[in-house]
């Protein structure tokens, strides 16, 4: 199944760094996200875009993971050749990530 069924996300930009925060819809899914949405998987998903390291920060209190991706925005909003120079749409792309099926019904 797709990450989209379990989580929502928002991307932000700062210089050439993009961050994508991923939030479990249900608190019980946080541990599942922790296990399956790793920095390595996020780096692999964005292999064509992100040149730098991906770091993951964990926020169990609000059921969130924050991925910070270095060298991710083609030089940053002021000089990027990308149509989406802020990289704002990257959050939706990350929700396309495949994760193992969860039994229970979600949303």
């Amino acid at each position: 199944m797709k990450l989209r069924e379990l989580a929502h996300a928002r991307a932000g930009d700062k210089g050439n760094v993009s961050n994508i925060a991923v939030f479990a819809y249900e608190p019980g899914d946080y541990a599942f996200l922790l296990e399956h949405v790793t920095a390595a998987r996020v780096k692999a998903h964005f292999a064509d875009i992100v040149d730098g390291e991906v770091t993951r920060y964990e926020l169990p209190g609000i059921g969130a993971l924050n991925f910070v991706m270095q060298e991710a925005l083609g030089g940053g909003v002021t000089r990027s050749l990308s149509l989406d120079a802020h990289g704002k749409s990257l959050s939706s792309s990350l929700l396309d990530l495949d994760v193992p099926d969860r039994q229970s019904e979600r949303r």
């Binding site: 989209r4 929502h8 996300a9 928002r10 932000g12 930009d13 700062k14 210089g15 050439n16 760094v17 961050n19 925060a21 939030f23 998903h45 964005f46 292999a47 064509d48 875009i49 920060y57 926020l59 209190g61 609000i62 059921g63 969130a64 924050n66 910070v68 030089g75 940053g76 909003v77 002021t78 000089r79 050749l81 990308s82 149509l83 989406d84 749409s89 990257l90 939706s92 792309s93 396309d96 949303r107």
Partner: protein
């Protein structure tokens, strides 16, 4: 117990104005804050001021003040904004004129300056942050350097009785924490309260992004009445606790999900969110629903501020040339791909010097690149976009020309060609000792 009501009238330079008027008229506000300055905006403002010394403040400043000043004046709402951009004093003069034209009197307008450190930075060989190199590497190309100021100037201006405070580069949350510090008398080393204030400011600074804007995903995250989305306001108590809400009857939603998404927006390490006045710690922040469109914030704290201020340097980086053309109907993708190869080869043949070239097929692979290409049937239309970075305007122009000339020299059925070329003022960052930055305040009276 004293409660201060602060509303967010804008989350970026081009933001909508009607929700700000709604807040001023129906929000029972004490303060209305307009956050209108970003990395890109400050560079554009500096360029505008280079062309015209009277310009350089927010292009929508007049529209915004004409719209909200009558209600704000009638209700005694103070206004704080970084719409001063590259010219706070020019902005203050403009607001004074607008007030007089509206027949409003008794207003003190403060212009907070000092963030412009362009002349200072040239002589300092400081390392750049978030990338390799030093400030000296940009010598001769620097057009602007603006330090992220803290709350100091705004608090001082409010203390002098200012009704409206216009700043240049100020950290976004500081626009909101400054009135809290002023109203509640928080100490400058009360790191936990400054941290809590930063949480509140951070949640408010992007306007509708916490009231259901930038959030809706039909079938997954539905938001009611988005067309009439309201902007947020916070009811803040002296201990730094707060409830986030919006004007009753406005569109959109404030709930746990919108608050969570906004909490981490543009944040890196949640335990160390660097601000000029405090290093805020968001790691323990929690949200509780306390009514319809009412969310209580808990758990923010802070650590001592650093001895440096971040400076955004705008510098002449390069030129970008761009051209686009559309192909539609059967074989659209194949024709667009052929066009793409033709342009790439012609740019090489004609010796255009290009540092970086990007060829996008819009509708297939322009936004997510290799990460999320659909597996569906061929698209009915494809737009080719060619964008390249060059060292001269002349070369940048030639990129668009090679795309436009596909009309007569490319595949069948190309249409709607457009082209452009521009200079890029890019941004780099460094850190300077905070004692080098001096706040200056000028006042206008209307």
């Amino acid at each position: 117990m004293k409660t201060i009501r602060i509303g967010a009238g804008a989350g970026f330079a081009g933001d909508r104005i009607e929700p700000a008027v709604e807040l001023a008229e129906h929000g029972r506000l004490d303060y209305l804050v307009f956050e209108c300055l970003a990395e890109r905006t400050i560079a554009l403002a500096q360029e505008a001021r280079l062309r015209d010394p009277e310009a350089g403040y927010d292009p929508l400043l007049a529209d915004r003040f004409q719209a909200v000043l009558p209600a704000a004046h009638a209700r005694g709402i103070k206004i704080i904004s970084n719409m001063g951009a590259a010219n706070p004093r020019g902005a203050a003069k403009a607001v004074a004129r607008i007030a007089r034209d509206l027949g409003l009197t008794g207003l003190t307008i403060a212009a907070v300056e000092g963030d412009d450190v362009t002349t200072l930075i040239d002589g300092l060989d400081l390392p750049l942050v978030e990338r390799r190199g030093r400030v000296a590497d940009l010598a001769g190309r620097i057009v602007s350097a603006n330090a992220y100021m803290g709350i100091g100037g705004i608090v001082e201006a409010l203390g002098e009785g200012a009704d409206i405070v216009l700043t240049g580069r100020v950290s976004d949350p500081a626009l909101f924490t400054a009135p809290l510090v002023f109203e509640f008398g928080w100490e400058p080393d009360d790191w936990d309260r400054l941290g809590k204030g930063t949480v509140i400011g951070h949640l408010l600074e992007c306007g509708a992004q916490v009231t259901g804007g930038y959030f809706a995903d039909p079938g997954y995250k539905d938001v009611a009445n988005l067309a009439r989305i309201g902007f947020p306001l916070a009811e803040v108590m002296a201990d730094g606790s707060a409830v986030l809400t919006k004007v009753e009857g406005s569109g959109g939603a404030i709930d746990l999900r919108t608050c969570k998404e906004q909490l981490l927006y543009e944040v890196h390490d949640p335990a160390a969110y660097y601000q000029p006045d405090v290093v805020a710690d968001f790691s323990g922040v929690g949200f509780t629903s306390v009514g319809p469109d009412r969310v209580a914030i808990s758990g923010g704290k802070g650590h001592p501020r650093t001895e440096t201020l971040k400076v955004t340097i705008g510098y002449r980086d390069s030129f970008i040339g761009e051209g686009q053309i559309s192909y539609a109907g059967p074989g659209a993708r194949a024709r667009a791909e052929l066009a793409s190869r033709i342009v790439e080869e012609r740019l090489k043949l004609t010796g255009v010097v290009i540092d970086e070239l990007r060829l996008d097929l819009i509708g297939i692979d322009a936004v997510h690149r290799g990460a999320a290409v659909g597996s569906g049937p061929e698209p009915a239309e494809v737009r080719l976009r060619v964008a390249g970075r060059t060292g001269s305007l002349r070369d940048a122009v030639r990129i668009g020309n090679e795309v436009e000339s596909l009309w007569l020299n490319g595949p069948a059925g190309g249409g709607g060609a457009t082209k452009s070329a521009r200079e890029v003022i890019a941004a780099a960052s460094t850190l300077i000792p905070r004692e080098l930055v001096e706040t200056r305040i000028a006042y206008e009276v209307a």
